[in-house]
């Protein structure tokens, strides 16, 4: 058991130690030092990124009687999650300044959520998966509720109710799967099931499991939370909410779809249909909206539905496109929220009309934001363009049946372009006297510029990253 720990759990153990450290320091440290809480988190995350190199990936390693595992797939997701965590921790400075003493607690919560995401990706049985989902969810409630005012509480409550219901649905499906196979372990379930014909109750259970998992991805049956929650949440927390849970959920969903849930024939079609419904809903909802947060909520929902559609059509090639799209999407999203984080604390607000003329006063920040939004819309020189082509080529490869889906998605991309344009166009209008020169912190500028640079670099030369994704997809 100790061997197990040292072979694959060192990064997560490191994070755990830093969580406890934060809590302890929070109890005893003098209030003046609250500014340094961020740095403890940053050190913890960087250390666990370093410790990722100690994890055994070749061949796959199963620890604690197959309950958790590691391979290059999990390692890639761990790396991306930790990187996002690093950027998000940098963004939280303005928020943590508002609650001085508690900033240790806040950072501990953020680290716990990241730890939960890591555990989700590496889980190899349903019990560990369930606990990890909850481990990620509980700190998220508090992170959402930690901002000032009433709205954050309401957002947290809605998020809690939705995820509690979806957990119930998820576990209901798991209970039937457990009944059929008398095991909770992915590997054993797959072995047992692949011997016989899939039954109706198996399909039912897998549909329930997927429905339970996709609520965090804001896909249709549980999608309505996304707008309310995004409205009420502070932007740095939102940068967390729109990236890390998505990464973690897709990390595990792809594994489930490849192994234990891959045997039913109905599941891909059901997922494809609900993701198409979500895409239509999200894209049409955003047309009338003027709030930048709501538009981004819809964009999240829409992007996730495209990815889900592809990940439902299981193949190795599709898996690599899914991973690549997720990587690109996450980086661009953090850049957008970094910019919104700057504007939020400059009292500009989230109505897109308030962004008027910002570009003319803040060239570099405005340009970085514009590039990221254009990337989300899927224009060239950004990684979004390559990701879009690569993702949609996967749908074509899956057969003629899905061509109508692809056509629908492509037309929805045009609708999406309309609302993405709404996000950036006011910036290029004539500057008025009121237009502010944004005072950004170094950390915010750093995040914005680094993420934009990554976006452009991947867009210019995606070959290495795609190769990595293909390698990972082959090794799942």
């Amino acid at each position: 058991m100790i061997n197990d720990f040292f072979n694959i759990l060192l990064p997560q153990g490191c994070l755990t130690i830093f969580i406890l450290l934060q809590l302890l320091i929070g109890m005893f440290a003098s209030p003046k030092f609250h500014k340094y809480a961020r740095f403890i988190s940053l050190i913890g995350i960087s250390l666990s990124i370093l410790l990722l190199s100690t994890v055994q990936t070749e061949p796959q390693y199963f620890a604690f009687k197959n309950s958790i595992m590691s391979d290059s797939y999990t390692q890639l997701f761990h790396f991306v999650i930790l990187l996002c965590g690093f950027f998000i921790t940098l963004l939280t400075k303005k928020l943590t300044n508002t609650f001085k003493q508690s900033s240790y607690t806040f950072n501990a919560l953020l680290l716990t959520a990241i730890l939960g995401a890591l555990s989700i990706v590496s889980a190899n049985d349903f019990l560990t998966l369930f606990i990890s989902i909850e481990l990620m969810a509980f700190p998220t409630y508090f992170l959402i509720a930690s901002a000032k005012g009433y709205h954050s509480k309401e957002a947290a409550f809605k998020y809690l109710i939705t995820s509690a219901v979806s957990t119930g649905v998820f576990l209901f499906g798991v209970s039937y799967l457990y009944g059929i196979t008398s095991s909770l372990n992915f590997t054993e379930i797959y072995e047992v099931l692949s011997e016989g014909e899939p039954t109706l109750i198996y399909s039912f259970a897998s549909v329930m499991i997927v429905f339970g998992l996709i609520s965090k991805l804001s896909i249709y049956p549980f999608a309505n939370w996304v707008i309310d929650v995004y409205k009420g949440t502070e932007t740095s927390v939102l940068a967390f909410l729109s990236t890390i849970p998505k990464l973690a959920m897709f990390g595990i969903l792809c594994r489930l779809l490849v192994f234990p849930l891959s045997l039913g024939l109905e599941l891909p079609f059901i997922i494809a249909i609900i993701s198409l419904i979500t895409a239509i809903w999200a894209n049409t909802y955003a047309i009338r909206e003027k709030d930048a947060k709501v538009i981004l909520a819809c964009s999240t929902s829409a992007n996730m539905s495209y990815v889900l559609l592809v990940s439902a059509l299981v193949s190795v090639y599709n898996l690599s496109t899914v991973i690549f799209y997720l990587l690109c999407y996450v980086v661009m999203n953090i850049a957008v929220f970094a910019f919104l984080n700057i504007t939020e604390y400059e009292d500009i607000g989230f109505n897109v009309a308030n962004f008027k003329g910002l570009f003319h006063k803040n060239h570099s920040l405005g340009l970085a934001y514009t590039i990221s939004v254009i990337g989300l819309a899927g224009f060239p020189i950004t990684s979004g363009f390559v990701a879009k082509i690569y993702l949609f080529s996967a749908i074509v490869n899956s057969g003629l049946v899905f061509i109508p889906f692809l056509l629908a998605l492509l037309i929805l991309m045009v609708v999406a372009l309309f609302y993405y344009l709404k996000l950036i166009l006011p910036m290029f209008e004539k500057a008025t006297v009121d237009t502010k020169v944004l005072k950004a912190l170094y950390s915010q500028k750093f995040v914005l510029i680094i993420t934009t640079a990554i976006t452009v670099l991947i867009g210019a030369y995606p070959e290495k990253i795609i190769e990595l994704c293909r390698f990972v997809a082959y090794n799942i």
Partner: protein, 102 residues
């Protein structure tokens, strides 16, 4: 009376689950919504216990799952009530429609 089989238990679990699911969507009273979420949990737990007994093999993972889910459900309820309390300080109502500011 016939012998009690797996299916009897499963139907009860299913019924409680669906009751909780429907209630959590339909109910207007927030406390009631929370109770309904606990009902969903109960239904799932009955399912797990049934399966652990009738086709669980020797490991009885289902019972462990019940234990964990019970704990998680209790914590969830406490957190939900706590956040609800803060919301209530502002609104003074327990009707879910009053909380639609966002």
């Amino acid at each position: 009376m016939t012998e009690i089989t797996l299916y009897h238990y499963l139907f009860v679990g299913l019924f409680v689950f669906v009751l909780g699911f429907a209630g959590s969507i339909v109910c207007k009273n927030i406390i009631k919504v929370l109770i309904c979420i606990e009902f969903m949990l109960t239904g799932v737990n009955i399912n797990f216990a049934t399966f652990a007994k009738y086709c669980g093999g020797s490991s009885a993972d289902g019972f462990v799952m019940i234990l964990f889910y019970t704990a998680i459900g209790a914590i969830e309820l406490a957190v939900a009530l706590y956040i609800f309390y803060f919301m209530h300080c502002k609104k003074q109502s327990d009707n879910i429609e009053k909380y639609g500011e966002l």
